[in-house]
Structure formats: C-alpha cells, structure tokens
Amino acid sequence: MSYTAWAIIAILVYTAFNLYVGLGKAYSKDTVSTTRGYFLGDGTGYFILFFTTAATWFSTWIYMGAPGSFYKNGIGWIAGLTWQLIIMYLMGTFGPRFWRLSKSNHYITPGDLLADYYQSNAVRHVISGSQLIFCVPYLMAQVTGVGLAVSTLTSGIIPFWAGVLYAAIVVGLYVFFGGFKSQAWVDTMQGIMFVLILWISITIMMTQTDIPGVAGFFSQLEKVNAKLLSYAHAPDYWTWKMYLSFFFIQAIGGYFAPYVWQRNYAGRNGKTVRKISGTLGPFYAFAVMLPVMLVGFGGAMLFPEIANADNILVATMAKYAPIMGIFIVLGIMAAGMSTISSIVVSASSLVTIDFFGHKAGVSDKHLRNTGRITILVLMVIAIVLSLLKVQGIVLLVNTALAGFCQTVFAVLGVFIWERATKEGVIVGFLTGIITTLVFTALKINLMGFAPGFWGLIFNGTLFVGVSLMTKPVSKEHIEKFMKPLTSREKA
C-alpha cells in the first residue's frame, strides 16, 4: 500500500476517534441543556482540565513556529520555555478567585466578571469585543494550518480547501452538539497524542547523530553551530529586550486569553484549579517545550542551511523516518484542532453572553441555542477567511497574545488596586490595543522592545492616570463583590 493510502487511513482513524470521544463518550445531554453547562461543562476534574488547558494553549506553533525559532535564535529563545511558568504563577494567583467568583455569581465570560466589578457594560463590550477581534483571526490561522497539514499529508489528493472544510466540519460537529465538555475530552486525547509524537520525533532525531544520546547530540551541535548555544546568537533581533517583551506578552496574554481564563471557571472546584497551577508548569516546560527546543537544535544540526526553518520537523522526518511523517502531520492536526475547538467555544460565549446574554428577558435555552448558531457562524467565517487568504489579517494573528495581555490592568484593578475605575480601564485598554496594532503594522520596535510591550506601558500609564482623575468603584460594592472570597479567606 502506498504512503498516501496509509496517510488517508490514518486521517480516517483519527477522525473517527475524535468523533467517538466528542459525540459519544463525552457527550452529555443534561450538561448541554443549560448555557453554563454548554460553555463551561459540568465541573471539570483535574485530569481533563490539565490536558484541555495544555492542548488549548499549545497550537500548531509547537510543531512549526517554535522549533524554527530555536533554529534561528539559539538558546536565547529558551524564553519560550521560561515564560510558560509565569502563566502558572498567574493561574495560582488569580485562578481560584476566578473560579469562586464564577461559581458564586454565575460568570461565564471574562466580561461578566469585569462588568460586574466595574458596574459597566461598556467595560464588558470593549474587552469582549477586542478579544473577539483577536480570537477570530487566530481561529482562521489554526484552520489554515490544519488544512495545509491534511493537504501535505495526502500529497495534495485532498486539496487545501477540502482540508480547511475537514477541520471546520469535524471540530464543528462535536463542538456544536457537545459544547465545552466534548471539546475538553477530545482536547485531552489530542494533547496526549501531540506530546507523545513530539517525543518520538526527538528520539528519532537523536539517533541520527554520530554518537547517539544526549551527549552526542550536543557535541555534534557544537561542531556544526556552537553559536546556537550562546545567548548572543541573534543580536539583531533576539536580544534581552525582546526576551523581556515576550516574557510579559506571552505569559500575561497566555493566561488572560479568554479560552484559557474560562478554564479557571470550568474547574470542578478551587482545589482543582489550584492543583493545575502547581503541576502544569513542569508539563509545559519539560514535556512540551524541552522537546521543541531539541527539535530546533536537532534541525540546525541535520539541516544547517534549510530555507524555511519552520518546516524543520517535517523535513527531518521526511528524510530519516518517512512513515513518522504521517504521525507528525497528525500531531500538527491534533495541536491545531484542539486550539480551534477551544477558541470557537470561547468566542461563541463572548458573542452570546456579552452581547446578548445580559439583556433582560432572554431565556437560558434561547441563549444556549444562540451559542450553537454562533459556533456555526464562526466556523463559516474561519473557512471563508482561510480560503480567501485575506491580506492584513496576519497582523491580528501575530498580535493576538499582545492584545489579550492588555486585559491585565483591568484584572489588577479588581484584585490589587481599589482606586481603579471603569474609565481608566477603557482608556488604558484601548490605548494598549491601538499602540500594539500600529507599532506592529509599522514594524516599530521602539528602543528594541516589542510593540505589545509598549502597548502594556501606555495602557498601564493611562489606566493609572485616568483612574486617579475619575470616580472609583464604591467601597460598598467592592465589599459585596469580594464577599465570596473574603468570607472564605477569614473562615
């Protein structure tokens, strides 16, 4: 049987397994009968929450962009590993509080919490609207990635457009019917799968060195390109300033992305969320990013002059273990589809709850149905954007995390700085977003720092300045809002 035939069989088996888990094992009619159950599940336990959080966060980037970044920038790009741990620090600090407030006050979206604290639907609309603007292009990028993966794997027998339709329809099916719960279960299966494939790949790479094993791997890398092991490898771009910028942008954006934030709401209890914050860090750093780094370095060793470093993993497997190429592409599909499903559920909740849900007289069932329709609409938009290859949308994809991280001051205002006001939040947030987009579009890395970093600086400055000039949230309201937390802290 030919390679392509095997590839098509592998895709069919993978698809069947996704649908079996999503529509069979994980589907619960009772859970999806309410809006909260549809968007957040029925209290997700530790194991599923662990893997759905990881699978949501890691996209096709870990197979394509991230190894290529190590290939190009050397060990300095270890920032890609170290910033992951800050996401867990933020989750430990805020996660259980988010969970408690969501449980007590029935929050579904980040906008619910912020609007309630600041007593402002303007805060809700500005933040949710911006999050949506960044979610949709990111969704499109993942759909495009899976479409390309399917097309490549089948040597074009399944064309790109059909690959795009495949990704949207398969994910759309289990998400439409099963909502968050189905998506979280499938994520778990996909997360385990793409991490295992990553480790098998690096094991194969290591056997291709002159002296097998870790010592041989690094010894050969040193001979081929010792500069990769130095922090000054890419002084023109990847400097300590970029490291610092990305450390903030990726870590803060990675935690305050709505689809990660809502996983705090989805936990079975506060202990589950807290346990995740204490244990997911090693998984991010050592189970995912460590092999990604080794793949990048291995690629630099085996293909010192490759034209497109982002394809290093695919190129290596094509040369040394062709059959493994099938699994690499399945890994890319799993990483992409797990992110697509999370984003689409989250984005649907933003539209449904933040733009329709808070209006009086809307029934729970009507909202749930609106959520389902929104999922279909978002999938159609993702398909159209992927197929049309709209110019300029790349800007939004590249700045998604920098956009998500602008929410941080609104959250600090809730938990740390009581003097914060809704006007400060809105002015700071919008300035941060606009700065990030303009600087990115014009390729301005002012003083060597990334655009999103400047977005944070301007955002923070205006947040504080405007807040000091406007009327803060009343003490009585803060006390009432915080009661679910303070009553338990002092018990």
Binding site: Y89, P96, L229, S230, Y243, S277
Partner: protein, 82 residues
C-alpha cells in the same frame, strides 16, 4: 509567617526568576558552554535547573500559600493560621 507575607515573597521570587533568566545576557560567565553536565552545555542545563527550581516554587505555592476558596474551607483556615 502569614499567607499574605508568603504571597509577597512569592512575587519577589518571580521577579528574581525573571532576572535570573535574563542574566546570561549580562554576565559572560553565565553565557558559556562549560562546565558540561552529562555532555549538556552550561547554557542549556543551567536554565533547565532554574526552570525546575521555579516549578518546585509553583508546586509549593499551590500546596501551602494560594487559597482554593472552596466551600469546604478547613484548609483555607489552616493556611491563614500559618
């Protein structure tokens, strides 16, 4: 030591972690291949050790410092007492 103080110390440890991560850019002695451990260059194993240490810190915080805010709050009460 009360929990609030522990959380403040936790924040400072995080700031220190950031500086340690960036330090090879400023201290030449930390930006070199030797000494190797099991053949792994210093620039690689040293940052992995730092990351492992921070992972332990996160685990400690989740066990002893951060609240869970569950209805069953015995553990919270004990954490406050500490």
């Amino acid at each position: 030591m009360d929990n609030k103080k522990k959380r403040k110390i936790g924040f400072f440890i995080t700031v220190i972690y950031l500086f340690v991560c960036l330090s090879p850019y400023f201290i030449d002695g930390l930006n070199q291949i030797t000494p190797k451990v099991f053949g792994i260059p210093f620039t690689v194993w040293s940052i992995l050790v730092v990351a492992a240490g921070y992972c332990y810190f996160l685990y400690y915080m989740s066990k002893n410092v951060w609240y869970h805010y569950d209805d069953d709050d015995n553990e919270n009460t004990e954490a406050v007492k500490k």
